[in-house]
């Protein structure tokens, strides 16, 4: 019972870095651009945000700085992959490595330092419920992430912007021929992805574990990428996927605390193992992928 309470109360916070990065990547991929550099974008955002908070800039400024840094690095990717039509996979990997390198460089003198996280806000009434009460005590960023999830879902479901992103991703040639600026739309989508990855990194480094260690993103960017496929490019599924990964990573801790004798390395690798298994199951359903997938994903477009 205590384990369930522990997982429920921490699940959303653990899921937030995945969720923010995956939502950003979702927007880019829906427009047809595969950016594999998410891990590096998150790492850069994390370093920038940590430095700003450490020097007393506060969390708002930290998130703004991290988002801006992520967006700028993503624009560099866009310049290579969309402007120069470089291979998106290669360009994404290169930008990812660059981001991790920059993160290590900026963060070098801050190794093992800590900052203060954010206070939690609770929903009056609901937070007093037994067992599930913990779900309603979260820091402000978690609440904002939930709002962002809803906003992105509504954008794809109801707005012309969402329609346009899907159209550009499905058939860029047709979108061009009916007069839309395909490249500009894709650049904007990629920049948005960078912004969200920067936020995700900032959350990981200054709110979730407010401590700097090089390599602290630890593969969460890759899981965010997998989540987009896992969710078959649907916002709601990506949200549930992020919650599942959040829960799985906490389950390891809960099991250890509960005295389960398992090697800690195995527990730490659980989210990654789950990723592989789930991706395998999803990929075997070609029908699902074809109906929701993005037809032009990763393909260069020349107007």
């Amino acid at each position: 019972m205590i384990a369930v309470e522990f997982i429920l109360s921490g699940m959303l916070a653990a899921a937030t870095p995945f969720l923010l990065a995956a939502l950003g990547e979702l927007v880019g991929e829906r427009a047809g651009v595969l950016n594999l550099g998410v891990e590096g974008l998150m790492a850069l955002g994390a370093a920038i945000a940590f430095i700003i908070v450490y020097h007393g800039g506060g969390h708002v400024l930290a998130f703004a700085g991290a988002g801006l840094a992520g967006a700028l690095l993503a624009l560099l990717f866009a310049f290579a992959a969309l402007g120069l039509q470089a291979n998106q996979v290669a360009a994404g990997l290169a930008i990812g490595i660059l981001g991790q390198g920059l993160s290590a460089l900026f963060g070098k003198t801050y190794e093992s330092l800590t900052v203060k996280g954010l206070p939690k806000l609770s929903v009056p009434g609901l937070s007093d419920l037994p067992v599930v009460g913990g779900l309603f005590v979260q820091d402000p960023v978690v609440w904002l992430s939930l709002a962002a999830t809803l906003a992105i879902w509504a954008t794809f479901a109801f707005t012309k912007t969402g329609l346009l992103l899907r159209a550009v991703g499905e058939n860029p040639k047709a979108a061009h021929s009916i007069g839309y600026p395909v490249i500009a739309i894709r650049v904007a989508a990629v920049a948005f992805g960078g912004l969200m990855a920067g936020f995700a990194g900032a959350y990981a480094a200054t709110v979730y574990t407010p401590l700097w260690a090089d390599g602290m993103i630890a593969g969460r960017g890759w899981i965010a990428l997998a989540l987009v496929v896992f969710g078959t490019w649907l916002t709601a599924r990506i949200f549930w996927g992020a919650c599942l990964f959040g829960a799985v990573s906490l389950a390891g801790l809960a099991a250890q605390a509960g005295g389960v004798e398992l090697p800690s390395q195995l527990l730490a690798s659980m989210p990654y193992l789950v990723t592989i298994v789930v991706l395998g199951i999803i990929s075997s359903n070609r029908r699902l992928l074809k109906l929701n997938g993005v037809a032009s994903l990763g393909e260069p477009f020349k107007p």
């Binding site: 899907r166 040639k173 009916i178 074809k290």
Partner: protein, 502 residues
């Protein structure tokens, strides 16, 4: 004549060494249906891209209602009142009709639905606004494209080869729509290479050959022969003479073939039956998307049936449904796929290396190593025997024109001396000279006792060379029809799925 709606003066466009358009003059009158007639590669598509702002001309000037016109993009063209219906539609398959239209036309969804229904009733363009585009037939998709253009209130509507995707009955319906549009004050630019259609509907025709204007006439005052001469520079070649077929033993048989593709946009095949004997040509008529791709992959072996149902495909008298392409070729099967570049040949490789792809059993490989001398010799023979215009075996496949590359691929497959020869869209995008040559070769091959199966969208082509025709529609195959006792309208009835009733 009143001020033309659109005038082109000395328009030129080149791509590298290729002069796609040279000094083209064109006048489109208001309220007229104006044809642009020309062969594949004559420069029709380039000219339309210039008029629709997809490309900008290198020289010359365009006038719109008498005033100079420069177009930076399709959006600019649309603002001026120029709309275009593409040959390969620019619709988004995963979106609904109304979503597709909302991307182009501003307004509330409810008002748009009303307008779609209104236009549909007015011009005979009925379509369900809430259907997903991938569920629609090709004819319905074309209607969506036309409606989408009409909703932007164009003065000029460009249609690129609009009839190539329609069964004959739908062509009449489209023509009726176009006449109503003209009478409603819209000019139509009608691009085609089909002479009879142009004579049936157009008020004026401008004829292009090799990027130049070779005629500007009233098509109703000229017969098809005159128009053909302007289009190809000589008389239309006659179809190859056909002796009566002498069918021998059964070479290919489909027995109740059923197949459901993984791809949700694919077409399931239902209960197909077909028998092909040596020494005859069987044509599969119908419009692409009715199961052509699936049928072609099932016959070539690119899709294998499970072992239990292998008897649904019989080749040379053996169950072959479970065999892969290489095993089927060993039985004496040869195949020319629909896409020349990518499946028929590799763009970036020399012709000699492309020969190796399927002709390697003819001694082009020795002890696992490529015998380059033999490969070159084989390729030289193929080039000479099949009149492929190229510099030699070392030329890159991608550098050949569509017609020449197709002659090469057909030649390569013929040199394998197949018992069963299967071609999908053998003359698609091929100039008339090469198409005639390919058809003559096929008839000669049949007279030598080879069984030939041809899938084609061109009904005229099937009537020229086939002994029998079956129609593929909605994943079902019609009964076999003797070509001599069949009219194109009969084929058309099966195409729209009304054959059984008639």
């Amino acid at each position: 004549m009143a001020t033309p709606l659109l005038s082109l003066r000395g328009i030129s466009k080149r791509y590298g060494e290729i002069r796609a358009n040279q000094a083209v003059d064109l006048d489109v009158a208001p309220r007229s249906i104006h044809a642009i007639l020309g062969e594949n590669g004559a420069g029709k598509s380039t000219l339309m891209k210039l008029i629709y702002g997809v490309e900008t001309p290198d020289g010359g000037e365009m006038l719109w209602e008498g005033a100079p016109l420069t177009l930076a993009s399709p959006a600019a063209a649309r603002r001026r009142g120029i709309g275009m219906v593409f040959q390969h539609f620019s619709l988004f398959e995963t979106l609904t009709v109304i979503e597709n239209i909302r991307l182009v036309v501003p307004g509330q969804a409810r008002a748009l639905v009303a307008r779609i229904l209104e236009l549909g009733a007015e011009f005979g363009l009925e379509v369900d606004p809430h259907a997903h585009v991938h569920e629609l037939s090709v004819g319905e998709r074309q209607r969506v494209e036309i409606i989408r253009c009409l909703m932007t209130d164009p003065k000029l509507l460009i249609l690129d080869e609009p009839t190539s995707v329609l069964p004959p009955q739908s062509v009449d319906k489209l023509f009726e729509t176009l006449r109503r549009l003209r009478d409603g004050g819209i000019s139509v630019l009608f691009i085609s290479h089909k002479l009879e259609e142009i004579r049936a509907i157009c008020d004026r025709a401008t004829i292009l050959r090799a990027g130049r204007v070779t005629g500007n006439v009233d098509p109703r005052e000229h017969d098809a022969h005159d128009l053909a001469r302007m289009m190809i520079g000589r008389d239309m070649p006659d179809p190859p003479p056909m002796k009566p077929a002498k069918p021998g033993e059964t070479v290919l048989e489909l027995i109740g073939l059923n197949y459901t593709p993984d791809d949700p946009f694919g077409m399931p095949l239902k209960d197909m039956a077909l028998t092909l004997r040596s020494g005859e040509i069987l044509g599969i008529a119908g419009i692409s998307g009715n199961g052509q791709a699936e049928l072609s992959e099932l016959i070539s072996g690119e899709i294998r049936l499970p072992f239990e149902t292998r008897e649904q495909v019989q080749m040379m008298g053996e169950p072959a449904g479970h065999l892969g392409p290489a095993e089927r070729r060993k039985l004496g099967f040869a195949f020319v796929p629909e896409d020349r570049l990518g499946r028929g040949a590799v763009q970036g490789m020399s012709l000699a290396r492309n020969s190796l792809l399927t002709a390697h059993p003819l001694g082009l490989i020795r002890r696992g190593l490529i015998a380059m001398g033999e490969a070159s010799e084989f390729t030289r023979r193929c080039i000479a025997d099949h009149d492929v215009r190229t510099s030699g075996p070392d030329a890159e496949a991608g550098g050949l024109s569509g017609g020449n590359l197709q002659k090469f691929i057909v030649g390569r497959e013929m040199m394998l001396a197949p018992k069963l020869f299967f071609l999908a869209q053998p003359t698609w995008g091929v100039d008339i000279g090469a198409a005639t040559a390919i058809r003559q070769k096929l008839v000669a091959l049949r007279d030598q006792g080879v069984a030939i199966l041809v899938i084609s969208e061109e009904i005229d082509e099937l009537f020229d060379i086939c002994d029998r025709i079956q129609v593929l529609s909605h994943g079902r195959l019609s009964p076999s029809l003797e070509t001599r006792q069949t009219r194109p309208e009969d084929i058309g009835r099966y195409m729209i799925g009304a054959g059984a009733a008639a």
